[in-house]
Symmetry: C2
Subunit: 517 residues, 2 copies
């Protein structure tokens, strides 16, 4: 009879989960040993669990199916938690397999024992501990069902070592997939009424509304009614570029969002939540909905959001209307000493067709949207939950999911260091990722936030505590140390030349762009 690990891997593959990002320890070795018998499962090692969980996130965003992770007890799950938080916030499906001590070993409270469930609860509403090999295949099938949703979620299956190794298992039948709930007709009617009631109406698009079908439907509505379109800030995946409708993404700073939404009398939510300030500030409102603006929810993130937009377009008689699409345009190649803006411009000038952009440039990519709006069609993957260290792992996962598409990771220096181990997995798997590091020698966002503190002068200790220049981080050496061809560029000409070359080459590359703060 197969052991639990055999049945687990077979069931994962049978149910379409054929990629596993791993960081195993001894309690998961029976899973590792069972991999050779199921060659359909691609196991991808990582040097740190945050890489595994972030890669699973990036993979699912692009593949529209979950990957599994393989993690080592409570501390392993803890190391992967930040990127699971990001996945949870964006409703991206992930199936965590977390090994644990053997069932009979737990009473002895060995050094690695901890309460895994408490950690898992932070990111998972679906948490289950398998107690018998006989049930493991069924349990993982349920984990997949839970992860896929709708809405997508992080599902965490805890597997004691003896449940992996006991030879009493069998694969499970495939569970039925659940369709997203239909959109109640009155919601569509209410949204239509709101749009008809005021010329000053906005539609805030989120989740699946930011893919081509939803964008086109929304753009038809906009063309027919004058409604303005916005995208939620923390978009898991946003399709952009020439031939797609242009949608303005909400800004990070609350005062900029106020300006974006100024004058709106109605705001329709399609797969998005009401806009809220990322952080609170003394004396400032948390809600970013303009005063007096009425909110109408057309479709929740868990529902079939693109369909809700199609239905709304129908009701408004906009189904046949021609949407306004972004024309093709390329920014001129920038010249001279680098700035963050010139890096974004260089990306726009060189972006190949079908690229995937993982953007964790934080303050440095403020102008990315403007520079790439008319570039060839591409996908933008953003920082969904605010836990930094997500951009490089997400690029790993996206490149695994889409081996034929070029991936560009735009990374801030500070953020890159949380999961810099991603570079090694890129090298090991020969992934087509070009990593561009903005090295401004600081946590730029914290510097900006520090200057906003009311009535507080900033002292030397506070300032130096958010600087990264003493010593400077040398990303060329870090990249090379982790096995990736790496180079530094100081001018825009060097950058565009290098980008053109690395995007044409197979395998990963790292470019360190020295930019002023």
């Amino acid at each position: 009879m197969p052991n639990g690990a055999d049945a687990l891997i077979r069931t994962l593959v049978d149910l379409g989960v054929d990629t596993c990002f791993t960081n195993p320890g001894t309690s998961e070795l029976h899973f590792v040993a069972a991999l050779d018998a199921v060659p359909e499962m691609r196991a991808i090692p990582t040097l740190f669990e945050g890489v595994a969980t972030g890669a699973a996130d990036g993979y699912a965003r692009m593949r529209e199916a979950p990957a599994a992770t393989l993690l080592h007890l409570g501390p392993g799950l803890g190391n992967g938690l930040a990127n699971l938080h990001n996945a949870r916030r964006a409703k991206v499906p992930v199936v965590n397999i977390v090994g644990d001590h053997a069932t009979y070993h737990r009473q002895h409270d060995a050094p690695l024992q901890s309460d895994i469930e408490t950690v898992a609860r932070n990111v998972s509403t679906w948490v289950w501990r398998s107690e018998r090999s006989e049930d493991l295949a069924r349990d993982v099938a349920e984990a997949i069902t839970a992860a896929v949703g709708p809405p997508g979620q992080v599902a965490t299956l805890i597997v004691p070592a003896d449940v992996f190794w006991q030879e009493r298992a069998q694969p499970s039948a495939a569970p039925a997939r659940v369709a997203p709930p239909a959109i109640p007709g009155n919601l569509v009617e209410d949204a239509a009424k709101a749009i008809r009631a005021s010329q000053r109406t906005g539609i805030l698009l989120g989740g699946a509304a930011l893919r081509e079908r939803g964008l086109i439907a929304a753009a038809r509505i906009a063309a027919a009614t004058g409604a303005r379109l916005f995208a939620e800030r923390s978009a898991a995946r946003l399709e952009r570029g020439a031939g797609l409708p242009a949608v303005e993404r909400l800004a990070y700073w609350p005062e900029l969002v106020h300006r974006q939404l100024d004058g709106l009398e109605r705001l329709i939510l399609a797969g998005a939540r009401a806009p809220v300030s990322f952080f609170a500030y003394p004396g400032k409102e948390s809600s970013l909905v303009p005063d007096g603006c009425e909110l109408t929810e057309l479709s929740s993130p868990a529902s079939d959001v693109p369909r809700s937009l199609d239905q709304l377009a129908d009701v408004l008689g906009a189904a046949g209307v021609k949407p306004i699409l972004q024309p093709r345009s390329t920014p001129p190649r920038p010249r001279g000493p680098l700035t963050p803006e010139k890096v974004c411009q260089a990306i726009g000038a060189t972006l190949p067709d079908g690229a995937i952009l993982s953007d964790e440039g934080i303050t440095s990519t403020a102008t990315l949207a403007a520079s790439t709006g008319g570039a060839p069609k591409h996908d933008l993957l953003t920082l969904t939950g605010g836990a930094i260290g997500q951009g490089l792992p997400v690029a790993v996962g996206a490149a695994v999911a889409c081996p034929d598409r070029p991936v560009i990771a735009l990374e801030a220096d500070g953020s890159a260091l949380y999961t810099i181990q991603s570079l090694w997995t890129m090298a090991r798997e020969r992934l087509n990722v070009t990593v561009v590091i903005f090295n401004n020698r600081a946590y730029g966002i914290l510097g900006a936030e520090l200057t906003r503190l009311n009535g507080r002068s900033t002292g030397r200790t506070a300032r130096t505590l958010i600087e990264l220049g003493d010593p400077n981080l040398d990303f060329v050496k870090l990249g090379a140390g982790l096995g990736i061809p790496s180079r530094r560029v100081d001018t825009a000409e060097q950058l565009t030349g290098t980008l053109v070359q690395t995007l044409a080459d197979a395998g990963p590359h790292l470019i360190e762009a020295s930019v002023p703060l």
Copy 2:
């Protein structure tokens, strides 16, 4: 009136917590801004939370007082969890300050929001959320009291941003310290009876018993009665070297522990728990207590363990007995191509007086104890909870706590990569740490464990999944990328020469030792 952050930092300092390892985000910036007004607080930035928490652990092990950490919401605590797990397992005190969204912001469920308490519960029995600036000083005083114990623990104080910034705070009075409970006389009598009853008695020392006073008392008992001394495997801090009693530390592999304890009829626990296998193996017992061996607990880890040994020595009439002490001896300087054993020998041959060894060499430091037993007095800090990525941060904390003592971090290649960001903090703070990386291009321990799996042949996928050679990790480049002078050595002569030099130099150094698996 001071704001919450002012009062918090002032209270920390007043109660002896004058070092904070930080990785702040926006919600903790009022804490950062308040630092300049309290110069007695040393704030040490880290590039990753696991460095901050592991450094707090290492600091407390050496300073015998807790440090604080400053972490950013649930994901920041998650990133620091693995090393907090290690601290928890060894009862090392840590005071976590975890920022959260402002109290009134939480209802809006902004992107970084999560249930911080669930994560904290994995490592903390003391978890508290401050809700008012007025109470913050009192709350942190309670956190310190909880952390200090006895027994020491990880205390987690969650501080919403507005509790930091509201100007309604005042410092708190110092709380009363709690003395460890006295050892009940009958426990001492029972232990004495057990020792008198059999010549085949062992004493397993743990926690504070592994410091000089406890070791000397135990060695007197051993000299007077013939009892054999053992040290728990996961020792937070073990004083060793010439002039101290030699104590045999329990091995990792259960079959080796069986051999160590073979024939014992009684085992006395002094600050240690009954020995248990690190992991479970099919068909093997978890408990490592020999069959028929009677256990007697002299003193729990929470009690005054050195005192219990003094009392036991008194009862046994051993108080005046001369303990057997380790004579001074130095292994010959090794020669030729490096092996893990030769690296350990080189450490023994060059170890300066008063050194601190942070040992996370895993399989590579199996012979460290034998090579350093007769070296000058030193402290050994080990992996306490089995969550790897602890050795480099612990070295950071130990070097901060003991600036006049040389620190050597012995690191496995795989383990080093979990918290490699530690090197940057070593460079920034000019810490006297020599990092020795054993690069054997694999997770050696997993390879050893994989060969133990019963009845399973190991396939190619399984084997390559625990290898680190494709691509090879270049630690010289990684060290240099993070600002540390770094070099590679291939021969024992190069290694000893380099060690002598780096141990004499101020500031951090990295030595990559290429060793066979």
